[in-house]
């Protein structure tokens, strides 16, 4: 096992947790990416959009900062040294399908990995626990089908 990769995962996870705590302590809000961004784009609530926009800018500038520092803090599995952002797992057609499913699914299900998986579990919300188990199982089955059934065990 790659202990360094796991340690970076833990450190990054704590930073994500601190982000969620900070947003709750300052704005009283759940740090759910799908909710924050879909509201920013499709609802634009008056007087409540500026912090969503700056959140988006911060989210994008995080990886940019790590890249600007030389990329040594990145944790890409099989990339070049200093890589921070990995390659997409497929082409445009696959990503269009996946994006649509992720958008509709997180919209209908009221949250994604951050809103349900991090904030919801931390609140001990039964809805979030059920949602998290459901999307984890659906994703695991999907990867199994793609890699080991359709892909023939590649």
């Amino acid at each position: 096992m790659d202990w360094m990769a796991s340690l970076q995962g833990l450190v990054g996870g704590v930073l994500i947790g601190l982000s969620a705590v900070w947003l709750m302590a300052t704005m009283g809000r759940i740090a759910g990416i799908s909710g924050i961004l879909s509201s920013l784009i499709w609802a634009r609530p008056k007087g409540d959009s500026a912090w969503r926009l700056t959140f988006l800018l911060g989210l994008i500038s995080g990886p940019l900062l790590v890249m600007a520092l030389g990329g040594g803090l990145g944790n890409v599995a099989a990339g070049a040294p200093g890589a921070v952002i990995g390659e997409p797992a497929g082409g445009v057609a696959l990503m269009l399908l996946a994006g649509l499913l992720v958008g509709v699914g997180t919209g209908l299900g009221s949250g994604c990995t951050s809103g349900h998986g991090v904030c919801g579990l931390a609140r001990l919300s039964p809805r979030s626990l059920l949602a998290t188990l459901t999307f984890l199982i659906a994703a695991i089955v999907t990867v199994y089908m793609v890699r080991h059934v359709i892909g023939g065990g590649a």
């Binding site: 996870g13 759940i30 803090l73 998290t132 999307f135 659906a138």
Partner: protein
């Protein structure tokens, strides 16, 4: 001040995603692939985030109100309905196909690739459709 608070939250989140390696779909798919060369990184990310948030939320709530708002705005729904389950299942399929959930997909914009742009465009369209399904 609210805009600055939002930026700090986003920056911490983006740093966390980059440092943990969640901006690499291969790491995410490696975690989801239980039958392959399993990559435990995501488990550490989720564990670190949930434990930190669990403790920090209780400290924040103990103060009575948030710094820049009048009150905490927490989800109030308790019902376990088909919409929640169906939505989560669709999301899981899309996550398993791409290795991207919304945070890492958006945070990876700097990687500038056509497939990622397609993913983001379709995701935003999907959010619109979900709102229309009202």
């Amino acid at each position: 001040m609210k805009a600055l608070a939002g930026y700090v939250a986003g920056l911490l989140f983006g740093l966390g995603l980059a440092i943990s390696g969640m901006t690499d779909p291969a790491r995410v798919l490696g975690f989801l692939d239980l039958a392959g060369a399993w990559d435990p990184t995501l488990m550490f990310v989720l564990g670190g985030a949930v434990v930190t948030t669990f403790i920090g939320y209780r400290l924040a709530w103990a103060r009575g109100r948030p710094l820049f708002e009048a009150s905490f705005q927490l989800p109030t729904r308790r019902d376990l309905d088909a919409r929640l389950l169906g939505g989560a299942a669709l999301f899981g399929i899309g996550w398993g196909l791409s290795g991207y959930c919304p945070g890492p997909a958006v945070a990876s914009i700097a990687g500038l690739s056509l497939p990622l742009v397609a993913m983001l465009g379709a995701m935003v369209a999907g959010w619109y459709l979900a709102r229309r399904m009202g």
